[in-house]
């Protein structure tokens, strides 16, 4: 049970999701380069081969993060909450007998619309909401590996 809860909250942390995706893709790229290194080619060539064979790392990373986070149970719950808030807002707005109560309905509708808009905008470009400091490109293309958290130096 604690593992499930831990996983749930880990997935809520967008940086944790990003780190996991990066680690997974990094493993793949390093394995590709390592295997290619055994064919008597330089590290640089092996890295170039790995990148070519893998495809667009940044786009794939973005796609994985988006898929991983879009159907989070809490996100679905939040969406349901927004719909409910909107419906209650309409109800209060229509059937509110007092001016102030009608205004409460308007506020509820506005909150729901803003919330949905926020989710929509956030879903448009997930990469723009994340830092690029740990991009996989420097990891793979840097010869010395000094900027990368784990480098390909271990492959040499």
């Amino acid at each position: 049970m604690s593992a499930v809860i831990g996983r749930l909250f880990k997935r809520l942390d967008s940086r944790a999701v990003e780190r996991e995706v990066e680690e997974e893709l990094r493993f793949h790229l390093e394995m590709l380069a390592k295997d290619h290194c055994q064919q008597d080619v330089s590290i640089t060539e092996a890295r170039a081969f790995a990148l070519k064979r893998f495809g667009n790392v940044e786009r794939i990373k973005d796609e994985c993060i988006e898929i991983s986070s879009r159907n989070h149970p809490l996100k679905r719950l939040f969406k349901s909450f927004l719909i409910l808030t909107f419906l209650v807002g309409i109800f209060v707005h229509i059937f509110g007998t007092h001016f102030k109560i009608v205004r409460v309905g308007d506020v509820l509708m506005a909150v729901a619309i803003m919330g949905r808009l926020f989710l929509y905008v956030r879903g448009l470009k997930p990469s723009s909401f994340r830092s690029k400091t740990e991009s996989l490109y420097p990891l793979m293309l840097n010869d010395t590996g000094t900027t990368a958290p784990t480098s390909l130096r271990s492959l040499s």
Partner: protein, 110 residues
């Protein structure tokens, strides 16, 4: 097709992944290697395209993932087929057989 390698049809990659995982649980790199070996590099598959497919399949409940230790003592994410995935594999395999039979029939007669 000019270089003798064919692009994958929509949904085919998922079928290949399901089939690969039906034998044993594997990490993404292992799955890619197995697929490349099986198709003798006849199909044009970028390794990276595997991951969005894996994440989508996990989202649909066809596969499940778990972090483990790889054969070279590295932390790696392992994927395994779920019961729903096995069921889906059977359905997709039957679909594939039907489609390929139909297309072959048309190509032979037309």
């Amino acid at each position: 097709m000019a270089n003798g390698r064919t692009d994958l049809m929509q949904g085919t990659l998922e079928l290949l992944i399901l089939k690969t995982l039906s034998r044993e649980s594997m990490h993404g790199y292992g799955i890619a290697q197995r697929i490349h070996q099986s198709v003798d590099d006849l199909l044009k598959i970028e390794d990276g395209s595997l991951y969005p497919a894996l994440y989508r399949m996990e989202e649909r409940g066809w596969i499940a993932s778990e972090w483990g230790v790889s054969e070279n003592n590295r932390r790696a994410k392992f994927y395994r087929l779920t019961r729903a995935g096995r069921k889906h594999l059977e359905i997709e395999r039957a679909n594939w057989d039907r489609i390929s039979q139909a297309v072959t029939k048309i190509l032979q007669t037309a």
